[in-house]
């Protein structure tokens, strides 16, 4: 049982990667230590703080509550996968503009949670943003900036998709 190691293939941020892990290795540790995605922040390790949130097949999950072997043949998005061609993702940009981070520890989980929230609810109320983000803790207590950033990002993304649609029809 000790020392048993399992080979695994998975996709991270669009790239096929592989590695070897003990069955007990948490996905969060595997992403950080084996694959070097240090944007996966490890906080409470029991699913309460949300800092280790990643997207598994585009759905947010706690990477500290999955074993690495369970991610075989799945695709994962970490915070490192959001920016495209040197351009920040609109949610990241809104966090910067609205002071949605102080120490930055909770930020990767916050941003990935917000990306999914806006995708499911493109025009969220402040109440549903507060509820949707409540599974991610900010120990700097910078929630005002975070909520403003998510609301602004939703507006930006909506405007962006509208202008894309106009371009398509022209």
């Amino acid at each position: 049982m000790f020392g048993e190691r399992i080979a695994l293939d998975l996709e991270v941020n669009g790239k096929p990667l592989s590695g070897v892990a003990e069955p007990r290795t948490l996905l969060s540790d595997f992403l950080r230590h084996n694959l070097g995605f240090t944007g996966v922040h490890v906080g409470c390790e029991h699913g309460v703080c949300g800092a280790c949130t990643v997207l598994l097949d585009d759905q947010p999950v706690r990477s500290c509550l999955m074993f690495a072997v369970q991610a075989r043949h799945h695709s994962i998005t970490t915070i490192e996968g959001l920016a495209k061609g040197g351009e920040m993702h609109p949610v990241q940009d809104a966090f910067r503009r609205h002071h949605g981070l102080q120490c930055g520890f909770c930020t990767p989980g916050m941003v990935l949670t917000a990306v999914d929230l806006i995708q499911r609810e493109p025009d969220p109320s402040e109440r549903s943003v507060r509820e949707g983000m409540s599974g991610n803790l900010c120990r700097c207590t910078g929630y005002e900036g975070i909520v403003q950033a998510v609301l602004a990002a939703a507006k930006d993304l909506k405007r962006q998709s509208q202008s894309n649609r106009t371009e398509e029809t022209q």
Binding site: L26, E45, G50, V61, M66, V69, D116, G135
Partner: protein, 293 residues
């Protein structure tokens, strides 16, 4: 905060699952959503020798509503229930309950079978299922059996599951058309387990009389409790505030409630009465409105 080593077995279908459970039984834990099992393993509250991962048994993940029955596979994620149109149309109570379960990231993994197998006293889905008319289908190499919720959940963290059995399916008999549901919970923070929660579904006959009433509470009660005496007392003509308050008082006085250092027994009873009364009012008023329309 890291789990102890274990032997990992991944099964791809129910046959392999049944055999793995027959082989390892009590030494094994089933890994479904892992949203309670993995934290417990991280804390080393549990250190199973064998973990049987059933996440690739796709045949256990479905929501199938037909006629008066909804069947939910044990591996169905909470988020699937949250997003299901047939369920929110026909079984609003479950949809309301599931929105109180932790947060979306947890609901994307957590499963119906998992929350039932754990039977945590403040858990929302077991309460909703206890309140509705629900059967649980269990399976092992020895065969299949069907238990009502009351015979399945025996107490806090205690169920009728044998070591070689798994939960296969949940079967809910739907409330009648025109029913209204209300799930009211008090917790310290949004997404926490309930300090106290109440679930009520009400419906009326052609004359507007309450002829279907289901009520249950959880939080400090061990297993969730269905309040059948209260259901009988409040059926028929609409209860006035006095009759409702009396019935609520009697119902909560009659059940066993545990206190702890955070929430002493009398405090829990007080909160239980509050959430129950609110849920009753919501559901009864809601069903009235539907009848008028």
């Amino acid at each position: 905060m890291k789990p102890a080593p274990f032997k990992y077995i991944e099964v791809a279908d129910e046959e392999a699952l049944t055999s793995a459970l027959a082989d390892y039984g009590d030494d094994a834990r089933l890994l479904a959503g892992g949203q309670s099992l993995v934290p417990m393993m991280n804390f080393r509250v549990v250190s199973p020798e064998v973990v049987i991962d059933l996440n690739r048994v796709g045949a256990l993940s479905y929501i199938d509503c037909r006629d008066d029955v909804c069947r939910i596979g044990a591996l169905t994620r909470h988020a699937m229930i949250e997003d299901s149109d047939p369920l929110s149309r026909r079984c609003a109570l479950l949809g309301q309950a599931v929105r109180n379960v932790a947060h979306r990231a947890v609901r994307n993994r957590g499963t119906t079978g998992g929350t039932l197998a754990l039977a945590y006293p403040g858990a929302e889905i077991p309460l909703a299922l206890m309140t509705l008319d629900t059967d649980i289908i269990l399976r092992s190499k020895r065969g299949e059996r069907r238990l009502g919720m009351k015979d399945f959940v025996l107490g806090a963290l205690d169920t009728s599951l044998s070591g070689d059995e798994y939960i296969r399916q949940v079967e809910i008999r739907m409330p009648p058309p025109g029913s209204a549901a209300s799930f009211v919970e008090t917790s310290r923070r949004h997404g926490d387990f309930a300090i106290a929660a109440a679930a009520v579904v009400a419906a009326r006959d052609d004359h507007g009389r309450l002829d279907y009433l289901r009520a249950g509470v959880a939080g400090g009660t061990g297993a969730p409790v269905r309040l059948t005496a209260l259901e009988e007392a409040l059926s028929g003509d609409d209860p006035d505030d006095g009759r409702m308050a009396d019935s609520v008082h009697e119902a909560i006085a009659a059940i066993e409630v545990f206190g702890d250092h955070h929430y002493p027994e009398d405090f829990r009873r007080h909160v239980l009465k509050g959430v129950l009364q609110r849920a009753l009012k919501d559901a009864i008023v809601g069903s009235e409105r539907r009848h008028v329309r």
